[in-house]
Amino acid sequence: MASVDSIAVRDPAEPCHRAGPGFMALLRVELLLALRRRADIANPLLFFVTVLALLPLGVGPEPELLARMAPGMIWVMALLATLLSQESLFRSDFEDGSLEQLTLSPQPLYFAVLAKVTVHWLVTGLPLALLSPLLAMMLNLPAAGYPSLLLSLLLGTACLSLIGAVGAALTVSLRRAGLLLALIVMPLYVPVLIFGTGAVQAALDGYAYSVQLAVLAALLAAAAALAPLAAAGAIRISLDS
């Protein structure tokens, strides 16, 4: 696979131990691969939009009711869309053996995982967040909630991608991992969901929502430090099987 080739473009006598160039190279390759599979990018977004379009059909079109449910529903659906797209995070690399190559490379596996998660967020979390004001408008959310929804989703989906990567790495060697991945990762998503919807609710009630955003940013910092480590450990365990 291309990701391995591009890391290998260096003098073989002088292995590159620095994390920076390896991280950037992997980031570029992963992004290129993701952009070539447009359907894979579109699917989570389409899921997000479709399920949210089902909501008024289920609960009725009353604007007040929809406005009340909108922050929670948008957040839960963003969570599900992230989760569903995460199953394939390491899958193809595991199947063609390039994941094993990555663990053998002189770069720390931490940065390889971080690069893959970053790309995952760029092609799922970021578009989901950018799309959210449109859906918020369709669900009649008051305009006061838009900035908080956008910002909380930007920070929150990055957290979700990082946490989900641990689950994806743990289940990568299993053939049908989809539901199991959801089962093991969902409880870990709880704090992100609470503070994400909390930010929107605070904004709707007319309060400052910087506290919730700060907590989300703190969760993101902690997840960025710890989740790739755990995921790297999980990859090594999965490769054992």
Binding site: V166, L183, P187, I194, A230
Partner: protein
């Protein structure tokens, strides 16, 4: 010398032999304590001024809830020992602790909801503690589901240990965030604050029950771990001897 016991723990056989003597004591202690605590708590402790007799369910509910959380840490801790020192025994303890902890969490939730009906008039409230307990149950279920998914036990052990550790890091965050969420959405009609001071006449039977539950937990954990060890080591000579009912020589 001081660490010899620790290295010996790496041997499943040594553990199996050592603990067989503990089992009757633990069994006797837990049966006795649970019996005394139950009779004392249900029959002799005074009625609650506000809740009448329905409060008596705390004699099951509180010890189960205590051990549900402690059980997760026991599971994660033994998983961590397994990952760090590659100890077969601690993986067996971890795997044995998962279903026991899940059942205790379920008992805590179930008794809590039974208690809720006469006290708050409803079986289920999205209260902070109840919600955290439910998420704890999901965490347990996740570990159990993951352990069942792998074909090879060694991989399942390590994967579960890692997941339990990730859960351990998250539990305080989850509990705090659920608390915060609840204070934000707290419904005004229901007041969940228990009286923080409990009368000694009600507390002593509770204490007996808590100690009894700890003994019972240790007993079941030990029995389950020993069974898992036999299951995993059945090919070895000593396990065959045990399975045939022959006495074991000194493991040294």
């Amino acid at each position: 010398m001081a660490w010899q016991w620790f290295h010996r723990l790496g041997s499943p056989r040594w553990f199996y032999q050592k603990t067989s003597g503990w089992l009757p004591w633990l069994a006797a202690a837990s049966v006795l304590l649970l019996l005394v605590g139950t009779v004392w708590g249900l029959g002799f402790a005074p009625q609650d001024a506000k809740q009448g007799n329905s409060y008596r369910i705390i004699y099951i509910h509180v010890p189960a809830a205590f051990l549900a959380l402690a059980g997760y840490y026991i599971m994660a801790f033994s998983g961590a020992i397994g990952l760090i020192w590659k100890m077969k025994l601690s993986y067996a303890v971890m795997r044995a602790a998962a279903p026991i902890g899940a059942v205790l969490t379920f008992i805590a939730l179930f008794t809590g909801s039974l208690w809720g009906k006469p006290t708050w008039g409803t079986y289920w409230v999205w209260d902070a503690r109840i919600t955290s307990m439910l998420i704890l149950l999901f965490l347990y279920v996740g570990v159990i589901a993951l352990s069942r998914a792998f074909a090879r036990e060694q991989v399942a052990d390590k994967a579960c240990a890692l997941l339990a550790l990730v859960g351990t890091v998250n539990i305080p965050i989850i509990y705090k965030s659920v608390d915060w969420w609840f204070t934000l959405h707290q419904p005004a009609t229901i007041k969940l604050t228990e009286s923080s001071s409990i009368d000694p006449s009600m507390f002593y039977p509770l204490l007996v029950m808590i100690i009894g539950f700890y003994c019972f937990y240790a007993w079941t954990l030990l029995v389950h771990t020993r069974n898992l060890i036999l299951q995993r080591e059945w090919r070895t000579q000593w396990a065959q001897q045990v399975l045939r009912g022959e006495p074991l020589g000194d493991a040294g």
